[in-house]
């Protein structure tokens, strides 16, 4: 075994540091090591060097390889989640296809808004449209909504807000502001229904001012797709969605969803 003692000061047994990394020390020993590390912060490097073999241990595992389809599956799921953050679920192409398509299309809006409007964007948009045709929903109301949303995607200067659930009650999704069309598109899913008399209300926050934007309710499947005219809140940096009584005029209710640009 190589001589390891010179790497450590004489007052601390190197095995104690190894034990610290391995987690096999007694509480008293942990105190000794941590006190030592406080007094000798440069020795943190020794801790890291002792973690390295564990970090790299799995590189020696047998050459089992994942199936090629796994890569495709991961990238497809990532594309779906580009807009919304939600637990990973396998791709499904039947029920709810239009909504996933809408989310995927709007996910591409994010890329466009960030300057990533490229070949892939055009390709994916074409795919979304083809999905809709395949699902035979070209004449229904959802398709009308969808086509309206898709028409907004290529607009320059779009701004994107990622919206997150704040209390386990609301949903997740996004708001895409399309200044060139003076409209914003709100897309949410997994939005809980509210009791009669209550509404979800979206507020745009600019500086210290909160401006009411729109009320909405989810459909029976917890989904929201709504176009909202942009009035004086085009420069908003933050969006909140509260649960309010219908007649309320100030944001007094709890915040269900919020997001920042």
């Amino acid at each position: 075994m190589p001589d390891i003692a010179p790497l450590f000061p004489p007052e601390l047994n190197p095995e104690l540091l190894a034990g610290y990394v391995l987690g096999d020390l007694t509480p008293a020993e942990i105190k000794i090591v941590e006190a030592y590390l406080i007094a000798h912060p440069e020795q943190q490097a020794e801790i890291h060097s002792l973690m390295l073999p564990l970090d790299l241990l799995s590189l020696t595992l047998p050459a089992d390889n994942p199936p090629p389809s796994l890569r495709t599956q991961i990238l497809q799921s990532a594309a779906e989640q580009a807009l919304i953050s939600q637990p990973v679920t396998p791709l499904k192409v039947k029920s709810g296809r239009i909504w996933r398509s809408i989310f995927a299309g709007l996910g591409l809006t994010l890329m466009a808004g960030l300057g990533w409007h490229n070949y892939q964007l055009s390709h994916e948009l074409a795919k979304v449209k083809q999905d809709l045709k395949t699902a035979k929903i070209t004449q229904n109301q959802e398709d009308t909504k969808y086509q309206s949303v898709v028409s907004l995607l290529p607009q320059p200067n779009n701004r994107y807000f990622s919206l997150k659930n704040m209390q386990g009650k609301g949903g997740m999704g996004s708001l895409v502001m399309v200044p060139n069309k003076s409209v914003a598109v709100l897309v949410l899913q997994n939005v809980a229904p509210l009791p009669p008399g209550q509404v979800y209300r979206m507020w745009a926050i600019t500086g210290d001012e909160e401006m009411e934007c729109a009320d909405f309710a989810p459909d029976p499947e917890g989904r929201v797709l709504k176009q909202i005219p942009i009035k004086s809140w085009a420069a908003a940096k933050k969006i909140t969605i509260t649960i309010e009584q219908k007649e309320a005029t100030e944001p007094e209710g709890e915040i269900a969803i919020e997001g920042e640009i």
């Binding site: 075994m1 190589p2 390891i4 190197p14 095995e15 190894a18 034990g19 610290y20 990394v21 391995l22 987690g23 096999d24 490097a45 801790i47 890291h48 060097s49 002792l50 973690m51 390295l52 073999p53 564990l54 970090d55 790299l56 241990l57 799995s58 590189l59 020696t60 595992l61 047998p62 050459a63 089992d64 390889n65 994942p66 199936p67 796994l70 890569r71 599956q73 991961i74 990238l75 799921s77 990532a78 594309a79 989640q81 580009a82 953050s85 990973v88 994010l110 890329m111 960030l114 300057g115 990533w116 892939q120």
Partner: protein, 197 residues
């Protein structure tokens, strides 16, 4: 290319972009960047997942979970703190052991993996090495390790077992397990010393 993850340098595989450049693209929403990262480290993640889960379906599912969690939570990875492959392997191990914990209703594994925290640390020596080099170095070091030291380290790492549990399973005194683990770790570290200098 059969094994892209083990076939090139950290800084030049599949494309000429460094991990940092790819991560920058990923943070800007480029899913192609995720594909590049998967091509670089997906196999390493899958192998570790398979080792711990001992089931190909579970390993595939966990690999997907790891990459999508990484995709969603990019802010949690600080490129200044360490190498990407170590970060991915660390969260793979953590999630795999937690899955096993949930499946077996054992007590919290995260409390018995010692101070081996799921936090990567900066290491220019590692970043400069290729994955192939690291694998070869690690394989050589493991071969030099006495089997009994290797055994206890692997039980702790891959199975998340505490040293008390290892002692019980191997019918050895706890002190013996501690000694073997510590000496084994110190010896491995010595073989990799130049990577951290």
């Amino acid at each position: 290319m059969l094994f892209p993850v083990f076939s090139g340098s950290f800084k030049s595989m599949l494309t000429d972009e460094s991990d940092l450049q790819v991560l920058t693209a990923l943070r800007q929403g480029d899913t192609n960047a995720l594909g590049i990262i998967y091509d670089r480290y997906g196999t390493a993640v899958y192998r570790l997942a398979l080792k711990i889960m001992a089931n190909t379906t579970e390993a595939e599912d966990l690999t997907q979970e790891v990459f999508l969690a990484f995709w969603r939570g990019m802010e949690k990875y600080d490129v200044d703190q360490g190498t990407l492959v170590i970060f991915l392997l660390t969260i793979t191990r953590s999630r795999a052991l937690n899955r096993i914990k949930q499946q077996s209703s054992q007590h919290n594994l995260s409390q018995r993996v010692g101070n081996y925290l799921p936090i990567a640390h900066s290491n220019p020596g590692i970043e400069a090495a290729t994955l192939t080099e690291l694998r070869e170095r690690m394989s050589f070091a493991l071969k030099e390790l006495p089997d009994n030291q290797k055994q206890v380290l692997e039980m702790g790492y891959y199975q998340g077992k505490s040293q008390s549990e290892i002692a019980q399973e191997l019918d050895l005194p706890l002190g013996t397990v501690k000694t073997r683990s510590r000496q084994g770790l110190l010896k491995l570290r010595q073989f990799l010393q130049d990577l951290v200098d």
